[in-house]
Symmetry: C2
């Protein structure tokens, strides 16, 4: 609506004071000794004119822009880890910050370009996120620009927010055991390659460690392990169909993610097996599709939103942070039942 932005000088003029005085008053500087009356005049003038400080101009002087950068490979533009940005946006909003978003597709040149672009705009800090918890090679940032890794790791920046996968893995196993499954449990999606592959994901190794640890603690073993490289429904379908045809003693599936479980459901249906009567299923992520399935899929959720929040809290707070693990919620739906013969 307003033709022209109202500036601090306008406020000062109307209050009959200098811009300095207006600035001090509006910023509530504690050591100032301006009169009560001056305070009132300035505040009144600011209110009447609808004054809003020009953050860009302020940033020039103070080197603080109340703006943070969020750079990721594809967090914003794919649906798999959208919770990360959601949490980050919320936390930023609460802290009266605003976020500049850049996507790099995982390409180093685009990443470098994005970082430079953010720095040119004087961001107060940057969070680096990845969709599948990779190690990231982040270039050094100018002094005074903090960074935190979100669902990612970097040797350069110690501040890191990750899902707490080890207990998550244990919880999944426990869910099955608590329902009475002591045998006939198959693992879908684990692959030794993935376990070793740093590039794929830092966290999957921990998830697997948790799973194996809990199984060992209970004195149990898997009746089968299907190694799969890619974790889309198609792969889950293929592997599960193959498995269930080969062996009839499988009573429960521990899937490495919900999309695999999605495919597993399809394979089970194909063979006339009902979940959870004939086959129990548990998995990881709490992907949106987990709720679409019937019966609803019980899964160990990736706490993306909480992680996103935490990352910007860390970024904006001043405590020097290390690796922080966010607990994974177990979200119980209806895909686990007591074992039954078939």
């Amino acid at each position: 609506m307003p033709r022209k932005r109202v500036t601090l000088a306008d406020v000062a003029r109307r209050a009959g004071l200098s811009t300095t005085a207006a600035s001090m008053i509006l910023n509530g500087r504690p050591d100032t000794r301006l009169s009560k009356e001056a305070h009132e005049r300035v505040h009144a003038a600011a209110a009447e004119l609808g004054y809003r400080p020009n953050v860009a101009a302020r940033g020039l002087r103070t080197a603080k822009t109340l703006t943070i950068g969020f750079v990721s490979d594809t967090v914003t533009t794919t649906r798999f880890a959208g919770g990360l940005i959601k949490g980050a946006l919320e936390a930023a909003e609460e802290a009266r910050h605003v976020v500049l978003v850049a996507e790099t597709g995982g390409e180093p040149e685009r990443e470098a370009e994005a970082i430079a672009a953010l720095l040119d705009r004087q961001v107060d800090g940057i969070v680096f996120a990845t969709v599948r918890a990779r190690e990231l090679f982040v270039p050094a940032l100018p002094e005074g620009v903090p960074a935190v890794m979100l669902n990612a790791t970097s040797s350069r920046f110690p501040a890191t927010v990750l899902p707490d996968e080890e207990p998550g893995g244990r919880a999944a196993v426990r869910l099955l055991v608590d329902a009475g499954h002591f045998e006939g449990i198959a693992l879908i999606g684990q692959s030794d390659t993935a376990e070793r592959d740093v590039f794929r994901s830092r966290t999957i190794a921990r998830r697997v460690a948790g799973i194996r640890g809990e199984m060992a603690d209970k004195g149990l073993g898997f009746v089968a392990e299907e190694s799969i490289w890619m974790w889309e429904p198609q792969h889950g379908y293929d592997a599960t169909l193959d498995l269930l045809r080969r062996r009839t003693d499988v009573r429960a599936l521990l899937c490495m993610n919900d999309r695999l479980a999605f495919g597993a459901y399809q394979a089970a249906a194909e063979l006339g097996l009902r979940v959870p009567d004939d086959l129990s299923v548990v998995s990881f992520d709490d992907d949106e599709v987990a709720a679409y399935l019937r019966p609803g899929l019980t899964t160990i959720g990736l706490p993306h939103e909480a992680m996103g929040r935490r990352a910007v809290e860390l970024l904006l707070g001043r405590e020097p942070a290390g690796e922080e693990l966010t607990p994974m919620p177990v979200v119980e739906r209806a895909s686990i039942g007591p074992p039954r013969g078939r």
Copy 2:
């Protein structure tokens, strides 16, 4: 890495010229008459020092920040229209702009606050997006700040990018007809309420008009219409199950979105019906789950990414724009077959 940012003054000093000269040369001002040699010295100095202009400072002078705002209800943080931001981000990157993202959850106060925050940062323009093509009540913006509506409409801003729903609706019907379906077609999800409800969606009405128009042109009618208010898988399941139990003459389903179709698949499976042998299905959106289903769901896609791109092109271009309709692609998978008795 660099301790301190290198400034234009540094470059000028090293080149032995004034900052004015350096500025002119680096910005390639055409009317200048600085010597060839000066050009070389300045460029050399800039390269050696790794100079990058401070966009914030420049913006102060030029009132251009190479930054645009993207404010939506929940486009970024839900998975339904993520393509919008993806396209916007890409187009912005190509134009060397960067985007400030804000989510309002559809709450007017948060929206007002978000707009103010963006304006405080001197954005060059704002795109307003919604996830379900609503009418939006956008407050006036200061003169010189353009806005475009993306998958949304506003009486205040004529520039609008929407999916071209009418032909989309027609295409869906044609897909069925071309496969030989002339009878036994049921419509899932249409509700007269929705058709009239401005708040729900501007575009759905056009989709329905396209569907009805094409049916009429072919001289066909629906064998049944299931009115549904909410379009989640659960609702599609319930409605379809009910419908298929009631009537045995249904051979094809035209679902208003992919999630309804998702539920329809489940209902069909429940009744032992195979897609597409016993039942053909076509729907709208090209949601990610459409590819997960087996057989793959044939659907009329929402061209979110193209729309997002277009919106920022419009915003950055100077052509005064009106309503722009982006064509909806038909993505053929395997859910449509010839009709067969059951």
